[in-house]
Amino acid sequence: MQHNMPLDEVLMIIALGSYVVSALALLAFFFTRDEWLKHLGIPLAIAGVVAQIAQLLARWELTHIWPLLNLYGSLSMFSVVSVGIFIYFAFRYKLWFAGGFVIALAAMFLAYGVTWNEGTMPAVPSLQSYWAKIHVPLVVSSYGAFMVAFVMSAMYLLKYYYERALGTATAPVDYAMAGPSAAASSTSEMRVRLDAPNIAAAAAGGNATAQWFNTMPSLAQLDILIYRVVAVGLPLLTLGIITGAMWAHEAWGAYWQWDPKETAALFSWIVYAIYMHLHTRNAWRGVRSAWISAAGFLTIMFCYFGVNLWISGLHSYKV
């Protein structure tokens, strides 16, 4: 053990370690539904978030340089926000079963970010602005929200296609698609939702996989969850683009330069705007919007990494 390892590196190791164990525990929980695994995973996820926030603050304090100006810092923010948003949604809507995936992805992004640690570098002139403290966290937070939406979409699609695979005799009755004319019981009891009837039937018949799918939220609930997370991401992305434009107005003389990075963000923004519009239509809720939200995250990844690594522009921070 090096006794002179800087504090921020120690914290980073703690954060990464917590995430890895938490992800493993929650992944095991996903497959086994053993409660103790959840009780191990949750505190570790929280510990990871706390360690990472402390790491970013320590780095800022040690170097006096806003830590989000390179891929290392921004990936660190991205992972902490994804896990943070997920923890909020998980407590609110009992989503811990999906935690393993979110936290594993976050840990992977964080580990990748660490490979970009070039040590401390002062900011180039265009990044020496208070806007860096506003714009970067907003954009990266929106990416985090979209990642959570992506995992929820994957869950939706998994359950949906499993339901389909179980039998095509009964097409899934997607309650969301049924609309006002759907037959509904007029009893005052809470309705029993049968939006995955094949899974429900197979679960009742003792099929272990089906029983396990049956403990996931219903398709309709997953659909609403995706919507709610995108509803966090889209305003953040909008505000991120707006603050980026304000910064560009101040630094480069034009709020919009059609630079590849901002244009790629506009593209993602359009994709999620499409998602939001289609989600207002009954027929497009459910599986189709889950696909759009999943695809939306790929456009975010393109905007985040693709543009930085393949396409040069103002955001490659030359001036």
Binding site: P125, Y175, I242, A245, G253, H277, R281, V319
Partner: protein, 460 residues
């Protein structure tokens, strides 16, 4: 006449269709993506070196190299605005501000029924009181002799979509103002040079330009990190009074509404050009930028100024990565009849023989500040529109307008209270809340059955 009307109706029908709107958004998105992938604003020859000739020709012919300013890109945004307007008036406003009307309660997926003792009037009053206390806006209407109660929550938020759409339109208006009235450009200003501020009765003189570069050893090698670029200028406005100002990155200056930004820097070079030992005044008095050429009269030969190299590596004699000025040199190429005949890196104050008795000596250099200027009278509108759009998003996403339909009917023992709910976002999103509301209503309206423990307590 009827043909015109039917076209008009087709137009309205198409443009108010959300799927049509989404298709427009999709095309807009894809065109935007094309502009990310195909680099914008390059030299035509660059496209031929990057793509196969047919593709390069297509890129140039369709103006994909400048896609965001093509008629079809701008036209697409125009179509989106038309669609957005038609949709807002034809669909959003009517659908989102529905009139109060009776419904078939049990045909609505979110519905429930409770049996309540008491007479109709009293029960209705208590039900209305229940919703009012929880912040619902309660209204009653009579339809064909049947009394209905309607309770609304976040009714105002039904306008969120309208707000978002108006925001988008305001942004479009702001950019149009710039196209109509604004201008922008850039100028490379030599130290000591004075330029006219475009469209303004003002001049700007560059007194000094400075840059600061910090060499930093990183894990992947030496990096020369720029820290600061500073132009010290003197501005003389309409009043004729000179004013000293400083332009830095992130700190533009404002000259009569036109903003000046620090965007780049470079060098200009003066050469001593001699022919058989005699100085050519015409060629030697000029200042050359990189990319310029010195045309030698009578020789058919051109000396192209390729680059200014601030530091030449002493060991290799090649340009080094250090952008600070240590041992400057100029990269020159000799071209004859359009063909490059040779190239050399020529240190300052050393001459190079370019044939036929011509000699060229890089004599001195002067710093150039790249300034960008922009006058944009639409910027405030764009800013306002952006925040209006954001407000619309937040209203639409976080305030769910819901309407409850309540019908109280006399039943053999008391009344039946039928309750149904609709929201602007379907039913699933409101299900949990609806069930909670129903349970609470039941608890409030129906007196609890005396439980055994209670009767025991009463007995003792």
């Amino acid at each position: 006449m009827t043909a015109v009307r039917s076209y008009y109706e087709d137009f309205l029908r198409t443009f108010s269709n959300v799927l049509f709107a989404v298709s427009l958004l999709l095309v807009w998105g894809l065109m935007t993506l094309v502009g990310v992938i195909v680099q914008q604003g390059k030299d035509p020859s660059d496209y031929f070196s990057m793509y196969a000739p047919p593709l390069a020709r297509m890129i140039l012919r369709l103006n994909v190299d400048n896609i965001y300013h093509t008629p079809y890109y701008v036209g697409m945004i125009g179509l989106i605005l038309v669609s957005l307007t038609v949709c807002t008036f034809k669909r959003v406003i009517p659908a989102r501000l529905p009139v109060l009307r009776p419904v078939k309660i049990d045909k609505i997926p979110l519905n429930g029924q409770i049996e309540v003792p008491g007479d109709e009037g009293a029960v209705r009053a208590r039900v209305e009181q229940f919703f009012r206390k929880r912040g619902w806006q309660v209204r009653s209407r009579e339809f064909d002799g049947t009394e209905w109660t309607f309770a609304d929550k976040h009714n105002w938020a039904r306008r969120g979509v309208l707000v978002a759409h108006i925001g988008f339109a305001i942004i479009a208006a702001g950019t149009t103002v710039y196209w109509a009235k604004g201008f922008s450009g850039d100028s490379a200003v030599l130290v000591g040079q004075t330029i006219d501020v475009p469209h303004r009765q003002a001049t700007l003189r560059l007194d000094k330009f400075n840059f600061k570069i910090q060499p930093i050893m990183t894990k992947s090698g030496m990096v020369y990190q720029p820290i600061d670029y500073v132009s010290n200028v003197t501005v003389v406005g309409k009043n004729g009074i000179p004013k000293n100002e400083t332009i830095r990155v992130n700190h533009p200056i404002d000259i009569g509404g036109t903003l000046f930004y620090q965007s780049s820097y470079g060098y200009a070079i003066k050469f001593l050009v001699t022919h058989d030992g005699t100085r050519s005044a015409a060629l030697s008095d000029k200042t050359y930028f990189t990319g310029d050429a010195i045309t030698l009269p009578g020789s058919g030969r051109q000396i192209q100024v390729m680059q200014f190299v601030p530091t030449v590596d002493r060991q290799t004699g090649q340009p080094s990565a250090d952008p600070r000025i240590n041992d400057p040199a100029v990269g020159l190429a000799v071209a004859e009849g359009g063909q490059t005949a040779g190239a050399a890196l020529v240190p300052m104050k050393t001459w190079i023989d370019v044939g036929d008795g011509w000699r060229v000596t890089p004599q001195s250099y002067v710093m150039v500040s790249g300034l960008q200027y922009r006058y944009d009278p639409g910027v405030a509108l764009v800013g306002i529109g952006a925040f209006v759009l954001l407000a619309g998003l937040v209203i639409s996403f976080y305030f769910l307008p819901a309407r409850l339909f309540v019908r109280v009917e006399s039943a053999p023992q008391g009344c039946t209270v039928g309750l149904a709910a609709m929201t602007v976002k379907g039913y699933d999103i409101f299900e949990t809340q609806f069930n909670e509301l129903l349970a609470e209503l039941r608890k409030t309206m129906v007196p609890p059955e005396p439980s055994s423990s209670l009767s025991l307590a009463e007995a003792t």
